[in-house]
């Protein structure tokens, strides 16, 4: 029974599937049985067995060959041919098997041949791909240019007596803004979230601008907060807590006076680096870019710390608050010194000449203009004619060089290129394994790639594809340069001649929408700065400065003539070299006297004259387009268009 079962199993195993499907157990794949039953002499049987086995053909093909060879020997034997002759003329077993295999495979179906060719092609391509990956792996970037030194070239080597940063640092230490203090009462400017009740206590993260109280998990008392955390929301006289701010400013008058002196110095002397300078640790603690998950042990330029920008802004905001305090005290000299110092801080923030620095400068200068407007709107009498004239000359001489900021942006990208590509010495090169890793790091998709991780292997595997799909070094740089050149050319073009379809942002968007272009210039899409919004911000700042200059001229005119002029042309040339143009239209800025107060304005982004009426900002915080300045050109298309004028004088005072 057992033997029969085994025989049945063998039969089943040696039966082709097609026979089984038809319900037949033929066992016709059993070559051993076929040979045993053939009656061939042992030597011939062995030869056939060896040849058939060596053919490594499909089982049905082997059976076919076995039948044929067996028949051949038997035919020979029946024809009385000596077995030795038959064996001798048979030929070499290995060669026979090889030739039979080759010939039999040619008889296989077309589908099999298609599959075989496909498999072969894939194998060849895979081999080429692997070899390419290995070849590309041998290429490594060579970091030859110290872009950090270039970034710091203005700040480097500043003599100690001309450097403002050490004095700012002393002032910041004296102000001790970041020290945590236990307060007995809640900050009246904040809502304190109670965990589990009215909000996620960590919702916005600590210190997120514009969202007071976010991140506070202790509704107190005591309220553990830094001094700055309290001050920043009480920097205006109308804000609750202003009296505390005023006291703080009075107590630190000497410190602010030191800031006045520092802001008048030619240079800041702050050096950007990859870790906090020992002397700055008192302010920032120990920061080290090489420990940042995206940077690694040899940080790229994007890891350079511009830690000084936040404290410079803090100082500027305190000075602006001190202007308000000085106005209340009728202290014109201090108010003027504060305002001028804000402009000095703005200049010092620009020492690294990147777009980030430039935008900080722009925002601080706007802060200074608003402080000046505040004085002029409330207590113009605290400034003498001479002080006003000096201030006007100072403001008129402020020169900014957006070109430098855009050119500074090139440094980040060039540094990326030298870290991501090989260098053939002629500006060309291919993307490297490290470069592909940098791309992922910069895009913020993951932490630094572990060199022995699966990600790293995947990266290596994608390298040949990347080298084909991603633009080579020279092309990438050329493309980036062409974009930055275009951005610079845009800054020379007045806004009224702008073509919104040809902005750098539009070009970048177009590139982004093409999958192939997007992949080809992937680093560029990640690292291209937001030049369009920067440009609008710069135009807004320039317009606001024009407004202040006209405002000072108007005040001087009124003092001399006892009333406001009928037209701005009356100010020229005694009080103003020329009437400024509306930066949105190219026409002279508009002017009217309303309720015995002058209003200087641009017709704003809506392009129609609203008589100097600014857009209304909903009090309930409903989203709206209420910025009529050039910055409002980036208004939200899903909201009603901004309606109102861009008032340049007296500008709206905003926190």
């Amino acid at each position: 029974m057992n033997l029969t079962f085994k025989s049945l199993l063998r039969l089943l195993r040696k039966t082709p599937l097609r026979d089984l499907v038809r319900g037949r157990i033929t066992g016709r794949l059993d070559i051993d049985q076929l040979l045993e039953e053939s009656g061939l002499p042992g030597l011939a049987e062995g030869k056939v067995r060896h040849v058939v086995k060596r053919t490594r053909l499909w089982r049905l093909e082997k059976v076919d060959v076995a039948h044929e060879l067996v028949a051949h020997f038997l035919d020979g034997i029946e024809a009385d041919t000596p077995l030795d002759d038959l064996l001798e003329t048979f030929g070499d077993e290995q060669q026979t098997a090889k030739l039979i295999r080759r010939a039999k495979k040619r008889q296989r179906p077309l589908v099999w041949h298609a599959f075989a060719w496909t498999r072969l092609s894939v194998l060849i391509l895979s081999g080429v791909y692997v070899l390419s990956a290995l070849y590309l792996l041998t290429g490594s970037p060579s970091v030859t240019t110290d872009y950090l030194a270039i970034l710091n070239r203005k700040a480097a080597g500043v003599p100690a007596d001309e450097a403002a940063w050490p004095i700012y640092r002393e002032a910041l230490v004296a102000l001790d803004l970041e020290r945590e203090i236990e307060w007995d009462t809640p900050d009246p400017n904040k809502e304190y979230y109670v965990p589990g009740e009215n909000s996620d206590p960590y919702g916005g993260g600590y210190g997120m601008g514009g969202y007071p109280g976010y991140g506070y998990k202790t509704p107190g008392p005591p309220y553990l907060e830094s001094r700055w955390s309290r001050l920043r929301f009480a920097l205006r006289p109308e804000k609750p807590g202003w009296s505390e701010t005023s006291v703080f400013l009075t107590e630190h008058a000497e410190t602010l006076a030191r800031v006045h002196l520092a802001a008048a110095l030619p240079k800041s002397g702050y050096l950007a680096g990859f870790h906090t300078a020992p002397e700055d640790e008192v302010l920032f603690g120990v920061l080290d870019s090489s420990e940042h998950p995206y940077m690694g042990p040899h940080p790229p330029l994007v890891g350079a710390l511009l830690s000084h920008l936040t404290p410079l802004r803090q100082l500027a905001w305190l000075l602006a608050a001190d202007v308000s305090r000085a106005v209340q005290a009728g202290d014109g000299d201090t108010a003027l010194a504060d305002g001028v110092a804000i402009l000095g801080l703005a200049r010092h923030a620009d020492e690294q000449t990147t777009l980030i620095n430039g935008m900080v400068r722009v925002s601080l200068q706007e802060l200074a203009y608003r402080s000046i407007q505040e004085v002029m709107a409330t207590r113009p009498d605290i400034w003498s004619d001479d002080q006003l004239r000096d201030l006007a000359h100072g403001l008129a001489s402020i020169e900014m060089a957006p070109e430098d900021w855009y050119n500074g942006e090139r440094l980040w990208f060039y540094d990326f290129l030298q870290r991501a590509y090989t260098d053939d010495g002629r500006g060309g090169g291919q993307v490297t394994h490290e470069g592909a890793g940098h791309l992922i790091d910069y895009s913020g998709e993951s932490d630094l790639i572990d060199p022995v991780s699966l990600e790293s292997i995947t990266l290596l595997a994608s390298l040949p594809a990347a080298s084909v799909l991603v633009a080579p070094r020279a092309e990438m740089r050329q493309k980036y340069d062409s974009f930055i050149d275009h951005a610079i050319s845009e800054t020379h073009q007045p806004l009224w001649q702008r073509d919104d379809t040809k902005t750098l942002e539009a070009m970048a968007l177009e590139m982004h929408e093409s999958t192939m272009q997007h992949i080809r210039y992937l680093p560029l899409t990640i690292m291209l700065p937001a030049t369009t919004s920067s440009r609008y911000a710069i135009e807004t700042e320039r317009g606001e400065r024009d407004g202040v200059l006209v405002g000072i001229a108007l005040e001087l005119y009124r003092r001399e003539h006892g009333d406001w002029p009928g037209a701005l042309e009356a100010l020229v040339p005694t009080y103003l070299p020329s009437v400024p143009v509306d930066r949105l239209t190219g026409e002279p800025v508009r002017y009217r006297v309303s309720d015995s107060r002058p209003v200087v304005y641009s017709i704003g982004v809506d392009g129609d004259d609203d008589g100097g009426r600014p857009p209304v900002k909903p009090e309930d915080g409903t989203p709206s387009n209420h910025d009529a300045s050039p910055s409002g050109l980036r208004s939200r298309s899903d909201l009603p268009a901004c309606d109102g004028d861009w008032v340049l004088w007296p500008g709206p005072r905003e926190e």
Partner: protein
Amino acid sequence: MKIERELMRGAGPVAVLKLLEPGEKYGYELVKALAKRSDGVLAMGQSTLYPMLYNLQAKGLIASRLDKAENGRPRKYYRLTGKGKKRLAHDTQQWQAVTTAMGALGITGSLQGA
């Protein structure tokens, strides 16, 4: 006399096609016929014949059928296809041209008659 492999590679298939022209034959029959009719010059063993037959079949020049021999054993018979007949006619012309050319060069027998 055994001929070189390269020459056999060109002559062998034509010879087999020619042998199949009158009618179907099985493997051993072809071996014997080749040896006899070519006076041993085109004699080939299984290692040459069967791969050649499989190749000709893959090209559609010959076809095969499995049948039982007189003694009841299974045996595969090969026959010329239409495509094979055309190919034989074509190759015959080619070989005749070669032979004539070789004869003109004094390599084959035509020179002897000259």
